[in-house]
Amino acid sequence: MTSVLNIENLKVTFATDAGDVPAVKDVSLTVAPGEVVAIVGESGSGKSVTAKTILGLLPETAVARGAVILGANNVIELSGARLRAVRGTDVAMVFQEPSTALNPVYTVGWQIAEGLRAHGKYTKKQARAKAIEILGKVGIPDPKSRVDYYPHQFSGGQKQRVVIAMALVLEPGLIVADEPTTALDVTVQAEILDLLRRVRDEFGTAILLITHNMGVVADLADRVVVMYQGDVVEQAAVADLFARPKDPYTQKLLASVPRLGTGAARAADRASVRSSAAVEPVVVAKNLEIEYPGLLGQRGFRAVNGVSFSISPGEVLGLVGESGSGKTTIGRAIGGLTRITGGSLEVLGHEMLGIREKTFKPVRGQIGFVFQDPASSFNPLLTIAQAVAEPLIVHKRAGDAASARTRVDELLEAVQLPKAFADRYPHELSGGQRQRASLARALALEPSLLIADEPTSALDVSVQAKVLELFSEIQREFGFAALFISHDLAVVDMLADRIGVLYHGELVEEGTGAEVLGAPKHPYTQRLLASLPVPDPSEQADRREALRLLKESD
């Protein structure tokens, strides 16, 4: 036996109110020492459940059958003390969300030592020395003093480094990393991926990487396992998989991944159609400032600082930036959800600085808003038809939901939802279907401006591709101007005529897709672009090298 992990015919079934639901149907895979194996798949494909089975972390309602051989043990049959002995020494886990994986009331040094204490005798001094050593190895600067820091004193990327340090401290043969970079920004993601690669090279640890991001797979993995609805549909070496995907599902998945550089041609097409005559822009921002009030006696937080841009009728402006860059705040300000505190923002001819809700209310009919999370943007107690009719009723175009029905049916047809869905409740729809309905609701009053705040970031890749396509079709058909907010450069590139890059509340670069993505001027844009992993292993290797050079030159 040379493999560190050997899963054979694993089946996992969950007991739910609606009967038994099989989450994993028949999975077999192996991981060799020092190998990085990626499990990819969409939500509900069973990839996380498989990962949790390896550590014996399944909830009580689940029943696992088959074999998960880890070293000399079958994890499924272990329980209690023997299971605890395996965890940490043979296999460790890196979680998705570093801010919840760390206990906020203990120092990181204490939390790293916790693993040591569980598996052997260490004096306080030894444990501390070990914690400092491992923190240094995962790239935390000045580990001697920072070992006594609490989790909130670290940034998101550093927290993930600490979590990786905790996983590494007992030198396990295998690390299971469940979406380790999903909660992080692109530039931080690149650093964490670098760290994981170094961990493999220096410690010889095998890594089982669970992810839905094909770019991450191309960057890090040696071998890829594609899962779909609880089954393994394809296993191949990473280069083979990307070059010659065999299974139709894998082919579809790879085709759905948005790629940089596809949008320039489309934008040019659209620009030629749009009349070049000088028209009044829909939105004009001049030195826009938005400050959130601070606590008593403290200074407020300035989320947006001196941003200027404009959106012409029928134009799609893409706003990209990392979390905390102020992109959502700008969208909310245009939609009248957040008050602006300085500069000037003109929306459809109305100055938003100090505007009264009464004056703005009629204007709201001309603005559509698509929210990020399709799960929470619908009132769970209203049917889709009632929710889509809401704007019509509020603006007195219809008396009640029943009389608005013909219009609702038209709208649902426009977003390619079958009429029968109108009488369903939001929880009976999938994420992509709900986002379509959300688009229908935003279009109900035929707005001249649509604000889309990360409309696809909660969706799976293949669904995202469909929704984006629909969005661009509808935009062409209805001809509204749009502000498209996203953290994903490739997505923005697909849709936007012009792209603005936000960084710490400032607009660092603005221009057409070709300008911003083809020849970025600002160093931040360059770094952002270079950090984005592309779904092609050999190209990604080149880009990684380029990013390293870019960092060295800084």
């Binding site: 038994d20 639901v21 099989p22 959800l337 929210f371 769970p380 509020v394 079958p418």
Partner: protein, 342 residues
């Protein structure tokens, strides 16, 4: 015809308590069933009290003369008579009526005001919210029985009629309960206010009143049935407490267990057990029944506390359905993989 029957059955299954009963298994089901049976018996007794009770609640004599005080249980008086010469069995049965009325009046009054105040307080926020929360906290700070006594004196003014007594007891309980409903609904409202669907209604331009009542209200009241059951049992206890201390309803106006208990305290030391045990047991049983229902509903509403049949043991229901919080997908046409195709 057949489909109509099926539709009716499905609707019956969807009813709050019926749905939970079908959902439960094992010990949780046993608790719920016991609670429902006790509560059901209690309500039926209250409704049919005039038929069930051998004598009136204030009756001390029949054609054969007075009953006599402190009679042991015998053929004529199955549970004996009290020190005042009332029939214990009749008093216990008539007492269910008083308890049920007080529960209904107290809960209805407090729920309307509490929910409305909570909704406005949570949604509007600002100084109104602060004032209401401070008042609610102040009410919390008083011992609830003391507050109920003060309210009872203020409302009845020392007079005692049937409805006067019931209203006094119910209103004094209301004063204690309103802050509870306010707190719960306010917390839910504050949470829901930040949900995307409320923002989406705001973006559309809906008025505050419309958002409050169409979007927030029904979503905020989900945990209400649970507090409701727990509060009704508390209402019975508060009523009994008031009666025991002599602030309740006079024996000639209505039968009230707390009053009977207080009159029975001197009997206990002289070996007369039947005057205290039966009203006391009635209080305990009603509180127990309602609490069991409330606690079971609470546990069943939380997927983490709800026990399920173990996977693979029951009939293989390996459907392609997804689990949905708060409802079953049984009657749905399966969603074909709409997103995957085309």
């Amino acid at each position: 015809m057949n489909t109509q029957k099926k539709g009716l059955r499905d609707r019956l299954r969807g009813l709050p308590v019926v749905h939970q009963l079908r959902q439960s298994v094992g010990l949780q089901r046993a608790m719920l069933v016991v609670g429902l049976v006790i509560t059901g018996v209690f309500i039926l007794t209250a409704i049919f009290a005039p038929l069930l009770a051998p004598y009136g609640y204030a009756q001390i004599r029949d054609d054969n003369g007075t009953f006599g005080a402190q009679q042991e249980p015998n053929a004529k008086h199955l549970l004996g008579t009290t020190v005042g010469g009332f029939d214990v069995l009749s008093r216990v049965i008539w007492g269910t009526q008083t308890a049920l009325l007080v529960m209904i009046v107290a809960v209805v009054l407090s729920i309307f005001l509490g929910v409305l105040l909570g909704l406005v307080s949570g949604y509007v926020g600002g100084w109104l919210d602060r004032v209401l929360v401070v008042i609610a906290d102040a009410v919390y700070a008083f011992p609830s029985l003391l507050l109920a006594i003060i309210a009872a004196i203020a409302i009845s003014g020392g007079q005692s009629s049937f409805w006067g007594g019931i209203l006094a007891a119910a209103l004094s309980i209301t004063v204690v309960f309103i802050p509870q409903y306010l707190r719960v609904i306010r917390a839910e409202t504050v949470r829901i206010k930040a949900e995307a669907y409320v923002e989406s209604a705001k973006v559309v331009g809906a008025s505050s009143a419309r958002i409050m009542f169409r979007h927030v209200f029904r979503n905020a009241t989900r945990s209400l049935p649970l507090i409701l059951t727990l509060n009704t049992s508390e209402a019975v206890l508060t009523l009994a407490g008031l009666g025991f201390l002599g602030f309740g309803i006079e024996p000639t106006s209505a039968a009230e267990w707390g009053y009977d208990l207080s009159k029975a305290t001197s009997d206990v030391t002289s070996g007369i057990w039947w005057t205290a045990v039966f009203p006391g047991a009635a209080i305990v049983l009603v509180v127990l029944g309602i609490t069991l229902v409330g606690e079971s509903l609470n546990d069943l509403a939380d997927p983490r506390l709800r026990t399920r049949r173990k996977a693979g043991s029951g009939p293989a229901l390996t459907a392609e359905t997804t689990s949905v919080a708060g409802g079953s997908l049984d009657d749905l046409v399966p969603l074909s993989g709409l997103e995957g195709k085309s």
